[in-house]
């Protein structure tokens, strides 16, 4: 009962700001609305017993990505505080694509057999995640760090002024 209530509240907290993100005419408010949405997802992670992912979610998404987006928007000329048009002449193709995607997703969700037998949680999922990263998933872990490094170097090369 309590879990259901928490789920409904957290879903509302995630979805309502998400709607604001796509409908608000003010870019900064749209970016700002990402934050409660991220925090709602954090709550859902906690509800699932994934505290480590929840902590990282706040730290990376709410604390870093949202700040980065806000920073960029606020520095963009004319980007702040302006009412920006939400619709343009490509409205019709947009509706068609979004509708097709929605139908595809709904069909996929309905046809998947969701296994309800949950596994048991480890005592501390921080340790479990750390061990898994450095044993079973070492290759994926290394590759993702390589991708991050490449993007970092790429960003430096693009942003650097020729001296």
């Amino acid at each position: 009962m309590g879990e259901l209530a928490a789920f409904i509240i957290l879903s509302a907290l995630t979805l309502i700001p998400a709607v604001v993100v796509v409908t608000s005419g003010n870019v900064v408010r749209a970016a700002m609305s990402l934050i409660p949405s991220f925090l709602g997802v954090t709550g859902l992670f906690v509800l699932l017993g994934a505290e480590f992912v929840a902590g990282i979610q706040i730290l990376i998404y709410a604390g870093a990505i949202a700040v980065l987006i806000l920073f960029v928007i606020m520095l963009t000329e004319g980007g702040t505080g302006l009412a920006i048009r939400q619709l343009n002449e490509q409205r019709l193709p947009g509706i068609v694509v979004a509708g097709a995607l929605t139908i595809g997703l709904v069909v996929l969700v309905l046809r998947t057999a969701w296994p309800l037998t949950a596994g048991t949680l480890p005592a501390s999922n921080v340790t479990a995640i750390g061990t898994a990263f450095l044993t079973d998933f070492i290759l994926a872990f290394e590759i993702s760090s390589l991708v991050l490094l490449v993007s970092l170097v790429g960003a430096l090369v693009i942003a650097r002024k020729e001296v």
């Binding site: 003010n26 900064v28 408010r29 700002m32 934050i35 505290e51 480590f52 929840a54 902590g55 990282i56 706040i58 730290l59 709410a62 604390g63 870093a64 949202a66 700040v67 806000l70 920073f71 606020m74 520095l75 702040t80 505080g81 501390s124 999922n125 921080v126």
Partner: protein
Amino acid sequence: MEILKAIVETILLFTFLAVVTAMLGVYLERKISGWIQSRLGPKHVGPQGLLQTIADTVKLLQKEHITPLNADVPTFNVAPILVAVAGLLAWMIIPFGPAFGRIIMVRDINIGLLFFLAMASLIVIGILLGGWASNNKYALLGGFRSASQMISYEIPLALALMVPIMMAGTLSTRAIVEAQGGSIRNWYIFGGPYEWYLAIPGVIAFAVFIIAATAETNRIPFDLPEAESELVAGYFSEYTGMRFALFQLGEYAEAFGMSALAAVLFLGGWHGPVLPGIVWFLIKMFALVFLLMWARWTYPRLRLDQLLNLSWKGLVPLGFLLVLVTGWMLV
């Protein structure tokens, strides 16, 4: 029932914090600055001026809320609350010490330190939004400086935290303090219950943590976001009355929280002879708070480029080195 208990705990903790951090913090700051500058500081309201902050708070409560004409009103109102709530929430994982047969802390969650860092990173958003919503160029510049500074210093802060985490093998603050019991030798600043040479990364990590924490809480010598000689008051230039006080509360709560965390991670938390644990914890915390205030009234402010260089070229590589060396020494 569980919810009621949580609400009562929250109210108790927040009241304690509001009293200790904001009231006592402001009072101490003014007294210590008085001593350092050969003045008396607040003296007339109550014995030795102890009630000065209460008088100030009552005054601030009576002040009019002024919202600038071109401000983004909802954002302008939310920002100080976000800063204060995030600053106070960080205290959830601070263990105060044993009393009444249990350890006094709100929640012993197993991602404790991660939670603290996450809350510290939420404060940036409040400051950035407050600066932007004021629609004032000084406030906006202050918000930007604050965001770039806090993001830069979060990394050395987290890397310095890695040292006690690696020594203890857990993220829970309670377990970290319990592992430092016994003698003063077991404090993580002195290498914990391991070989003596682990004291080297211990001391350096403590220093990095204190520097990064000072920058993270926007205090002199790293208070560029509110540099009064350039930016009026930075991101809270346009705030009046209680909203201004909420920004202050958030800032002091975070500064005290960082000191408390340093006491917990490096200085053995509540461990100490004779006196009860909570007293020891408070002594250590206030000693570190004094250190922060001492630095504030003794050093001049850095330039922004010096500040960012110090983090990216000094503390971040040092932090990575610390993690590497600690790992190598522990194995």
